[in-house]
């Protein structure tokens, strides 16, 4: 009895370690393999300008994916991020182009209003789904439409541009070939990682995704935590909206269509479980990079956009199948 009990945890420990390695390292290896394949099969993949290009393309999806990771970790989902991004962008665009504001004030006010708009929708999503215990899939399907409609209404379906020149220039600046906007996204990754791994708040979020009732009975206010996760997601969308405007120098009510699906895909490919409780921001970073590299590399290979879309779809499914195997490994 005693001997068998003592040897058991030893064997299990090996399985646990293997699992941890498989999780994040596995995704990293997949990314490296993709990079290797594209750099040998195409001429331009590893050039400085193309790398800058990929990082620029990854940036917005990465920011949305960070927020999405928080929501998916508690077992929720946020389908509204693409529409809310458009809503935040047109609000910020309107503020930024208000007459009589000096450029720096305009940019600061615009940024604050974009983040505030995102947080407002996050609060709404979180409150409705937590208070009435409605699946967030349905709640955010509703707010997806609300935000899109509001964006169109506010602008009368027109596009806003002519932002301060310094703001427009900021969006295309690089530091050693790395886009500044991507660096901002990396800072957000670092913050997200810190919050999820080093704080009580992050610990409780993981707990809720794994076993909400156990967390509630351990004396935590699950309601507040759930709202907070959605609010963080909304805030990330607000930041994403400003970044989008800095990069493309427009704010339009029809931007961001389908962004939610790319963000969810990045989170899932990054190894976060759709049922919640398992996953990491580092995985999400890698997942977003895989999507970006894949898109860029396939274009360089001369594949059509349609083919690219199909292949991305397969990658998502393969990632989830692999996740099932990892799960089985944990359970064994």
């Amino acid at each position: 009895m005693n001997t068998s009990d003592a040897s058991l945890p030893g064997q299990m420990r090996i399985a646990t370690t293997t699992k941890t390695i498989l999780r994040e390292a596995g995704i990293g290896i997949a990314l490296l393999v993709l990079i290797l394949v594209f750099s040998t099969t195409t001429q331009h993949f590893l050039t400085a300008s193309n790398v800058t290009n990929i990082l620029t393309q990854v940036t917005i999806n990465l920011i949305l994916s960070i927020g999405m990771t928080f929501v998916i970790l508690i077992g929720g989902i946020d389908l509204s991020v693409g529409s809310v991004l458009a809503f935040c962008a047109v609000v910020a665009g309107t503020v930024m182009t208000l007459p009589g504001l000096d450029p720096s004030t305009a940019v600061i006010l615009a940024t604050l209003s974009a983040v505030a708009g995102g947080i407002a929708f996050g609060l709404l999503n979180g409150f409705i789904s937590a208070y009435w215990v409605i699946p967030s899939f349905i709640v955010t399907l509703g707010t997806l439409n609300i935000a899109r409609g509001a964006a169109l209404q506010v602008t009368n379906a027109s596009t806003i541009y002519s932002f301060p020149p310094a703001f427009n220039a900021f969006g295309s600046q690089t530091l050693y070939g790395i886009p500044l906007l991507f660096l901002i996204a990396l800072v957000l990754v670092a913050i997200g990682w810190f919050v999820l791994t080093k704080t009580v708040f992050g610990r409780v979020l993981y707990g809720i995704g794994n076993n909400e009732e156990a967390v509630r009975l351990a004396g935590h206010n699950v309601f507040i935590y759930k709202i907070a996760a959605f609010t963080i997601c909304g805030g990330a969308v607000g930041i994403g909206a400003i970044i989008y405007m800095a990069r493309l120098n427009i704010a339009s009510p029809i931007i961001g269509i389908g962004f939610e699906l790319n963000a969810i895909a990045a989170v899932i490919i990054g190894g976060t479980s759709l049922s919640g409780g398992r996953g990491s921001i580092v995985g999400t970073l890698l997942g977003a990079c895989i999507i970006g590299v894949l898109a860029n590399g396939l274009v360089l290979l001369g594949l059509s956009d349609f083919m690219r879309q199909m292949i991305t779809g397969f990658v998502i499914i393969i990632a989830v199948i692999l996740d099932k195997y990892r799960e089985r490994l944990t359970k064994a």
């Binding site: 009895m1 009990d5 003592a6 058991l8 945890p9 030893g10 299990m12 420990r13 399985a15 646990t16 080093k198 704080t199 009580v200 708040f201 610990r203 409780v204 993981y206 707990g207 794994n210 076993n211 009732e213 156990a214 967390v215 509630r216 009975l217 351990a218 004396g219 935590h220 206010n221 409780g277 398992r278 944990t330 359970k331």
Partner: protein
């Protein structure tokens, strides 16, 4: 007294014969050598305490679970069902304790679900459907129920009867009834017994699982007692008495280590007073009242569904009580959520480790600190070194066998998982511990260690409220036992009066004396 000498039953070959059937779930042994047989035209009772293995046995018979060892012969050939469909083809029908009805379909659709009548276009033929269902309901005396009504609109008792009607639709050789009378009133029970008698006359073999020994003696020919996953006796009902069955159900042997007694300090102040506390799901308007003292281990006995878990949940504000009040250290308190209860020095070891107690896929350390993250954090930042230190210390105190604090809780055996749940609450230095089935699914060794731990806690002055379905557990552990029945306290026993028979008498006391709905 029904003597079987005149009936043909005894001479008949058994229809179903089980020998040495065993089943494990991970480290937990559910069945460990069950043997019994079923003859055509007999009603055979299966009795045993909660957790004795009755439900597992039934699930194996009807193909939901597969046995690990042992043989089952059906009509002389090996029987090895892999799906419920296999069991039905073999002529075994089961009426489960949990309902398997489709709530938003009509009564008729439910009854005929396995063989919906179709017309020549392949469309469901409503007329024949309703006729068949009508006939089925009439045959069990449910003439007043409209077969077009959705099942969801029926009361519990009627649902149970619809379930039985559905099971009777097929031509079955064997009918297994799992606690069929649990939700029935006396009148409906009588009706069910008449149906059983008719089936028996047709030669159907019936396995009858029940907690109610009076029913067993009323309608069964033979009885098999299960205890701890084993069949400990089978005999003709005329050869036994209720007392003999009960003593076989609870068993007599208890490890000496577990039976260690404790000096009881009765001077303890009152830690908690319940005044007519009523759980929202309790039908008993006057609720539950009692006092719990520091240094006391108070046991709560009762059948499954008697309101024991609900009582603990309403104390802990896991469910907000419907009415009544709670005094803590003599002062009235009203907890809005578990957080308040925890802040007031209460811990709650829940019945179901996997669903409510543990986060299996998170580290042991994270589970240990879950209810007291403040102790291992500053300004909201976790100090993982402190967390691991606390886990190591508590782990040593409670003799936890584990690899590393960082390993997931799922890597532990059932007993050690339960110790982690205890550690989670001990990390909080509680003054009152509510324990719901503290040793469920725990092996004997770990059980003895948990008993010793709980005794030590009571000696340190904690107030312990222990709910358990294992009577020997309550009898060895507790200083006082309250017996619940239908969400009320049916009796109270002091240590010198403890006996399994007395507890069961209280537990069954007003089982039949009230009517549902």
């Amino acid at each position: 007294m029904i003597e079987n000498s005149s009936s043909p039953i005894k001479s008949v070959e058994p229809l179903l014969q089980l020998s040495g059937v065993a089943k494990r779930f991970g480290g937990v042994v559910a069945l460990n050598g069950v043997s019994f047989d079923l003859r055509p035209g007999e009603v055979h009772a299966l009795v045993g305490e909660n957790g004795a293995g009755k439900s597992t046995l039934i699930k194996i018979l009807c193909g939901i679970l597969q046995r690990d060892a042992g043989t089952i012969m059906l009509g002389g050939v090996p029987y090895d069902p892999h799906t419920p469909g296999d069991a039905k083809l073999a002529g075994i029908q089961v009426v489960h304790q949990e309902f398997n009805l489709l709530p938003y379909l009509s009564v008729a659709e439910n009854i005929c679900f396995e063989d919906l009548p179709r017309n020549r276009f392949g469309i469901v033929d409503r007329r024949i459907l309703h006729e068949r269902a009508r006939k089925a309901l009439d045959s069990i005396g449910l003439a007043d129920v409209d077969v077009r009504r959705p099942v969801a609109s029926l009361g519990v008792a009627h649902r149970q009867l619809v379930e039985i009607a559905r099971a009777l639709m097929g031509e079955s050789r064997i009918l297994v009834l799992d606690e069929p009378t649990a939700t029935l009133t006396a009148r409906e029970t009588k009706r069910l017994f008449a149906i059983i008698a008719a089936l028996k006359a047709k030669g159907v073999a019936i396995a009858f699982v029940s907690h109610h020994l009076n029913e067993v003696f009323e309608i069964c020919e033979r009885v098999t007692v299960l205890r701890n996953g084993q069949s400990v006796m089978t005999c003709d009902i005329s050869q036994t008495t209720p007392d003999q069955l009960v003593s076989n159900m609870v068993g007599r042997q208890l490890a000496a280590a577990m039976a260690a007694t404790r000096e009881v300090d009765k001077s303890g102040r009152t830690a908690l007073s319940l005044h007519q506390l009523r759980h929202p799901a309790s039908p008993n308007e006057s609720g539950v009242s009692f006092d719990l003292h520091y240094g006391e281990m108070l046991g709560i006995a009762g059948l499954v569904g008697s309101g024991r878990t609900e009582l603990l949940r309403s104390i802990f504000a896991a469910d907000i009580p419907q009415s009544g009040s709670l005094d803590r250290d003599g002062k009235k308190v009203s907890y809005r959520n578990p957080k308040d209860a925890i802040a007031d020095g209460i811990g709650f070891v829940t019945e179901d480790r996997k669903e409510e107690g543990l986060i299996l896929d998170m580290p042991i350390a994270a589970n240990v600190t879950l209810a007291n993250l403040k102790a291992v954090s500053r300004y909201g930042l976790l100090n993982k070194r402190d967390e691991i230190k606390l886990t190591r210390e508590l782990g040593a105190d409670i003799k936890l066998k584990y690899g590393r604090p960082q390993d997931n809780a799922s890597t532990l055996s059932g007993g050690n998982q339960q110790k982690v749940v205890l550690a989670k609450w001990l990390a909080n230095n509680p003054r009152i511990l509510l324990l719901d089935e503290p040793t469920r699914g725990v092996d004997v060794g770990a059980k003895a260690e948990i008993y010793a731990l709980l005794r030590a806690l009571a000696d340190k002055g904690l107030a312990l409220l222990v709910v358990s379905s294992e009577l020997p557990e309550l009898i060895t552990l507790c200083d006082r036992i309250l017996v619940m029945s239908n969400h009320r306290i049916a009796g109270e026993l002091e240590r010198q009066d403890f006996s399994e028979e007395r507890i069961l008498n209280f537990a069954y006391k007003d089982e039949r004396s009230h009517e549902y709905q």
